[in-house]
Amino acid sequence: MVENRPFVTILAHLVLIFGVALVALPVWITFVGASHDGARMLQAPIPMWPGDQFFVNLRQTFLGNGLDGTRTAPVWMMMFNSLVMAMMIAVGKIAISLLSAYAIVYFKFPFRMGVFWMIFITLMLPVEVRILPTFEVIADLGMLNSYWGLTVPLIASATATFMFRQVFLTIPDEMLESARIDGAGPMRFFWDILLPLSRTNIAALFVILFIYGWNQYLWPLLITTDANMMTIVVSIKQMLEASEQTPQWNIIMMTALLAMVPPIIVVIAMQRLFVKGLTETDK
């Protein structure tokens, strides 16, 4: 705004502060909850200020054995499972989408557009819609309770294929011709020219897909029955449903807090590339 009216400025700030508070409050409560002991969390009213048990809870939750000898499921293992799943989904989706977009844009083969539209139509078939047949297939392949079972059905991605197709279409044809005259074969061109040119787009997509993979709930819930293969997002729900005992809110909150950490790290680490991917146009 070019106008300089104090009232408008104050109003704008109030609205923004309200918005931030709305988003931050649950995170704050989670943090506070993770810093009290289990007994305090069962008393009303729930505390609004942090307690002194944060590192005790962290140790107990992360490793699964507290200072006082109580045992809970170690969250580091679930985080590891989630990490493997999210990485496999993100990397797998990017690799397959890059290759399929490359085929669609740069190669002439019969029914090229038909293939493209077939890929595109799968946008209408997310896991939730095809859950029964997919489960059947994965079960028959013996991939229940494995990383492959967790990730393979989620890897094919029409969105990413479409995005890379658009990226490749913006790369001038002369780039390909120039590479052909330089003697670069199809794989060489892909590796030396296309990949570096879509670097920022890959980074942006990686952030989105990593979080998508990390937050998967329904599919891991179905496919994993073994506690060793459980992901962190599923485990939060399991902890709440431990019906024979009162929920350990401090542990649950700490788990939730830990579940937030890797996506935040990925976003912060990829931030610069991410923004560049959205703004850079020099092709």
Binding site: E177, R180, I181, D182, G183, A184, P196
Partner: protein, 351 residues
């Protein structure tokens, strides 16, 4: 080094034919410019020689070897593109070295050739920059450097100067010419700019709508254009065309004025004379009504119509001349500067 032979090349895209039986023998070390208006097929022809477009019929040979079936990389050519097509993520050095790297040349050899090309083009201090950090002229040099390091048999240029500003274009034109003479590599250069074509080429191929109108030296094209199209395309301002009738060794213009003309020609013809060849002459037969004039300093352009007709005539007068709109000036046309063309086919009628 190699001669290039184009034998009856044609190109069709589905039902549309864009090139018709192009023949050319290009000598070793020659600089040939393909010139024509947009859409005449000149870039397509170049890309067929490069191997980027398939050849519908006919043969392309480079140095006695038919290259129809060869990949661009195996034809031993280098190409400079209109938008340079530099790889944006590689430094200038990597851009220039890329083709050699793929050919698995030893590292020291690559380094030596890149350095040599950089010295020739005076881009040594930019070797570690990315293309986006360079100006248009510098990118142009890098694109040429990428062609030079390959040490190819043929250079192909696809309108490489059209993205530069006017001053830089003139400068780069001279440099390309010098470079080509120095390296002695057979070159084909595509442009739509006839001045560029005239100054660069040893020989010019004028293309129009897929047909070769004429293939010859710049002076041949200027002095003896084979068709009306070539006559109008080469030279600036363009040649004046006056409808006329030929009979008994004279040519009669639209306003009834007769000039001595060619023997043995009769019927409707087009009389052509270049603006710079009309000589002021108070008793001259060609009388022009002045409409306006442009003073360009070195010469003055008179725009008017042939007296008694609506046919536009442009005259280029040396030096400063002051003219009054509405006045009539007389000019004579030296016989050697007159051109006659068949009105139907547009072909030149030799006197």
């Amino acid at each position: 080094m190699a001669e290039i032979k184009l034998d009856s090349l044609t190109k069709t895209y589905g039902p549309t034919q864009v090139l018709y039986h192009v023949h050319a023998d290009i000598e070793d070390g020659e600089f040939v410019v393909i010139v024509g208006p947009s859409g005449c097929g000149k870039s397509t022809l170049l890309r067929m020689i490069a191997g980027l477009e398939s050849i519908t019929t006919g043969e392309v040979s480079i140095g006695d070897k038919v290259v129809n079936g060869l990949e661009p990389a195996d034809r031993d050519i280098a190409m400079v593109f209109q938008n340079y097509a530099l790889y944006p993520h590689m430094s200038v050095r990597q851009n220039m070295a890329y083709g050699l790297k793929i050919r698995k040349q030893p590292k020291a050899e690559i380094e030596r050739r890149v350095q040599e090309a950089a010295d020739i083009l005076e881009i040594g201090q930019y070797l570690d920059r990315k293309p986006r950090q360079l100006s248009g002229g510098q990118r142009q040099r890098v694109a040429m450097g990428r062609a030079i390091v390959r040490d190819p048999q043929v250079f192909l240029f696809d309108e490489p100067l059209s993205n530069l500003d006017a001053k830089l274009r003139v400068q780069m034109r001279l440099e390309i010419r010098k470079l080509q003479k120095r390296l002695g590599v057979t070159s084909i250069f595509v442009t739509h700019d006839q001045v560029e074509a005239m100054t660069l080429g040893d020989r010019l191929m004028v293309l129009n709508a897929g047909y070769v109108e004429q293939f010859g030296t710049p002076i041949e094209l200027y002095d003896r254009p084979a068709t009306i199209f070539v006559a109008g395309f080469i030279g600036s301002p363009a040649m004046n065309f006056l409808p006329a009738t030929a009979a008994n060794g004279t040519v009669t213009l639209g306003n009834g004025v007769s000039l001595p003309g060619a023997d043995g020609v009769s019927g409707p013809v087009t009389f052509g004379i270049r603006p710079e060849h009309l000589v002021p002459d108070d008793t001259g037969p060609i009388r022009v009504c002045v409409q306006l004039f442009e003073a360009l300093g070195a010469n003055t352009l008179l725009h008017g119509v042939l007296e008694g007709t609506e046919t536009a005539v442009v005259v280029s007068l040396p030096g400063h001349v002051t003219l009054e709109p509405g006045e009539t000036r007389s000019f004579s046309a030296p016989p050697a500067a007159q051109h006659l063309f068949d009105s139907d086919s547009g072909a030149r009628i030799e006197p």
